[in-house]
Symmetry: C2
């Protein structure tokens, strides 16, 4: 679908048809576009736990304030982000050197720089993980809409419970949940958006 049409059509859906499924093939198609998202230094901290089994969706619903869309959605995606910036550094920079982005020397230095980020505070590395993983989540929302799927990003959940129930290791931030499926009931009118004149500042922040 044309991007402008897609961006105007995409909504956060509240009501999903619980009788419909999402296939492996659909997931593979969807995540092709998610994977093309950018990330800091191309370090791709994202990991996605896709939950389709009804019993597991019920367990996730119990971690998400019992919201019905968690079990009604065809699939729930738990978007996670690695808080270790250097987790994929060696292979990412080796690829960049092979493709001529870096000399072997600057590639080596980049691995070293990113490895040093392990010494930053836990807070900085959480922020780092959320930043790039959220970029990929927005791609997920657009790609889903493009495939005719309804979606809803969700931040109402108890991260520690999600972590425990779905075996998410300590080194990963639970960034958000995304419900995917088929619209059961059309959305109401889109909620207000803060206008251009308010969100865009020219040359400096206009407090």
């Amino acid at each position: 679908m044309d991007f402008r049409e897609l961006a105007r059509k995409r909504r956060s859906n509240d009501h999903f048809d619980p009788t419909r499924q999402i296939s492996d093939h659909q997931l593979e198609e969807l995540f092709e576009f998610v994977a093309l998202s950018p990330s800091g230094y191309d370090l791709q901290p994202w990991e996605f736990v896709v939950v389709r089994d009804p019993a597991n969706k019920a367990r996730l619903r119990a971690c998400a304030f019992n919201q019905p869309k968690v079990t009604d959605a065809s699939a729930m995606v738990i978007v996670c982000g690695s808080k270790d910036p250097a987790r994929h550094a060696e292979r990412v920079f080796a690829d960049s050197v092979a493709k001529g982005y870096y000399t072997p020397e600057t590639g080596k230095k980049s691995v070293e720089r990113v490895t040093k980020w392990r010494e930053r505070s836990e807070e900085e590395n959480r922020v780092w993980a959320v930043r790039s993983s959220a970029l990929s989540a927005m791609s997920l929302l657009y790609a889903a809409c493009d495939m005719g799927l309804a979606s809803c990003p969700m931040e109402g959940f108890e991260a520690d419970k999600v972590r425990k129930e779905f075996a998410i290791p300590e080194g990963f931030e639970v960034v958000m949940l995304v419900a995917l499926g088929y619209e059961a009931k059309p959305n109401r009118e889109r909620r207000m958006r803060r206008p251009y004149s308010e969100i865009v500042h020219h040359e400096k922040f206009r407090a």
Copy 2:
């Protein structure tokens, strides 16, 4: 442009043509799509400082490890996020009540809930601000590409310096920079992407 074509075409550009400008009209077009991004509770924490003046781009470059693309880009966007979740709560929930999403009672409770988030740790509210603001940044990257603009998200900058130089108040996180402009030189081959089999976990995290 068709979304799939757009997602495959969009790249992080390193080289911008310093002779070309971006007009007010282009910015207005671009931010229409940015504003349609989702956010937690529709609270839209995002603010964007658009820097086009050459002297200001030079000041920003000095905050970003002297990267040439900061001055070569036609416009630099400083993506900020409010760390006060309740900043727009009254009007956002009033709109939701008016459109029938909530009863007046649940609207009032929602304002109260979000206002209580002010008591969360600074760290939690930073993560909150980055999460939704990064979603909008991904929309910015797609919308720019759709308009024939090159772009590059950047996390290599000194946030405190950016804050000082561009009068960004303490209550706002500097989430990332986005360079916007015209491609001066085509990109090399796209860097490796972690494959589906690695990033997608089924039913639980596969450590």
